[in-house]
Amino acid sequence: MSELRDAYDVAVVGAGPAGLAAATVCARAGLATLLFDEQPAPGGQIYRSITTTPLKRATILGADYCAGTALAQNFLASGAQYVPGATVWNLTREREIGVSVAGSARLLTAGRVILATGALERPFPIPGWTLPGVMTAGAGQILLKSSGLIPEGRTVIAGCGPLLWLIAWQYLNAGARIDAILETVKGDGAASWRHAAAFATSPYLLKGLRMMLAVRRRVRVVSKVTALRAEGRDRVEAVAYRTARETEQRLPVDNLFLHQGVVPNVNLAMAAGIEHRWDDAQLCFAPALDADGGSAIPGIAIAGDGAGIAGAEAAQARGMLAGLAAVRALRPNAAVLEDVNAVRARLARFTRGRAFLDVYYQPAPQFRRPARDTLVCRCEEVTAGQIVDTVALGCTGTNQMKAFLRCGMGPCQGRECGLTVTELIAQARGVAQQEVGYYRLRPPVKPITLGELAGLPKNEAALRSVARG
């Protein structure tokens, strides 16, 4: 990592649509811009492997995926310094960044930091979700985009959300077999139809309907699934499900894909001290930000789905807005190509009617707060029942509970259990999720070795702080 400088004008974390757009705006305006990304190639998850995909047929992933090519190319030509394979494990209020690349760690500072760490799939705790052969639908999509791999054998996709239909559609385009889609949408439409008029003008409506119809023509769809269980000994062998009308049914499977929407990836932003609040529509924690993505901490902004779920097009617009705000702050006289008002209009267009999707695809309570015997914390293997029982022992929050159960203290650092834990404790106490809060996240937000920490370049002050006498 010898080419890294000690200080930059702008540091961007994440190479999805928001991060690429933000870095491109800043670099084009002449700011010394650096972009760190964990993946080996740009694109984030929505445009994953956009410059490296081995798929030859563009028709498999569709035109919306291919739109990421221009975004990546503009970024690569922008003059921004791009560091792939980089894990950012710390960000301080003073905008000092701790990062590891290829096993060696560095600290550096930036005048502005734009976090574009995106979204992750919402935890989907059902019995058996840890069995080999069960993975998220997003994981299946990544294997298709990055490696040209498709499921073989009996395949079921279960859950809800727009992404579920996109993945099913892409799998069918690729020639994969899908035996059934088990849709967990609640179907108590009243709440969501209030937002239907706004969604009727969304650019996503027609696309989404076309895609759903294309999938429904070719795949058996079971609607209003109310219970799910993955079964098997050393790997998944069957999925059991119930609907309101039917007794329990069982489908033999080799692959089970789970998905119930995406939520902001909060770890780095929360550890930096950015305030997050519970979002009652999206059922997750989202950061408190101004119109340009700026947080209450001077110089730190969040762009893209990490600022609240809105999709790839909105992420790109929000990345541009955060980038433009950085340019205004650091180099007010710089010439920029992008017109702020045009970008805001674009953001408004692509977020129109979003509330409809949020409410219509809200995961059902039983899939957010599972039954007692279901594993919630995959790493430390803690069940929902154990978590709820700590409330009776006097645990009012997520952090006290950790000390009893180690729940959330494994390698994933709560990413696969945090929201479930908040919701379980809130229900057991009869209070709102906001009152319970989330895990207190601290650096390092990704595991690093002691060797990496010890190998950090040392300055005089650091040496003095550990010297005796």
Binding site: E38, Q39, P40, Q45, T52, P54, L55, K56, R57, G85, T87, G103, L120, E121, T130, L131, P132, G133, V134, M135, T136, G138, A139, I142, L143, S146, S147, G148, L149, I150, P151, E152, G153, A174, G175, D234, R235, D254, N255, N265, R378, C379, E380, E381, G410, P411, C412, R415, E416, K446, P447
Partner: protein
């Protein structure tokens, strides 16, 4: 269980998975390579020892933790394969120094 689409770009390289020489696609991550090679479980859960396999493929779940060239607990989904790479699935108790 996954299979590779027939019309996919890529050259194959050799890596060593649990001591066995295996051909994988250059450009794949370690986790994708394990899946394409039919390896069912990438690790055993720390508490119960139950088998686990890559779950999220995007650096979130840590189920794809494997030992790569002797270094333990690497996130297989973030690491591209390299020719001659030694990949060991993680079973049993952790050993000091790995």
């Amino acid at each position: 269980m996954f299979r590779r689409l027939p019309d996919v770009d890529g050259t194959m390289i050799e890596v060593i998975i649990d001591g066995r020489s295996t051909r994988v696609r250059a450009g794949d991550t370690v986790a994708a390579a394990l899946i394409s090679a039919g390896v069912l479980a990438s690790r055993a859960a720390d508490v119960s020892g139950a088998p686990r396999a890559p779950y999220c493929m995007m650096g979130v779940c840590f189920e794809c933790l494997v030992t790569v060239d002797g270094v333990g607990n690497r996130q297989g989904c973030l690491l591209p394969v390299k020719s001659g790479m030694r990949i060991d699935t993680q079973h049993g108790k952790r050993e000091v120094g790995r």
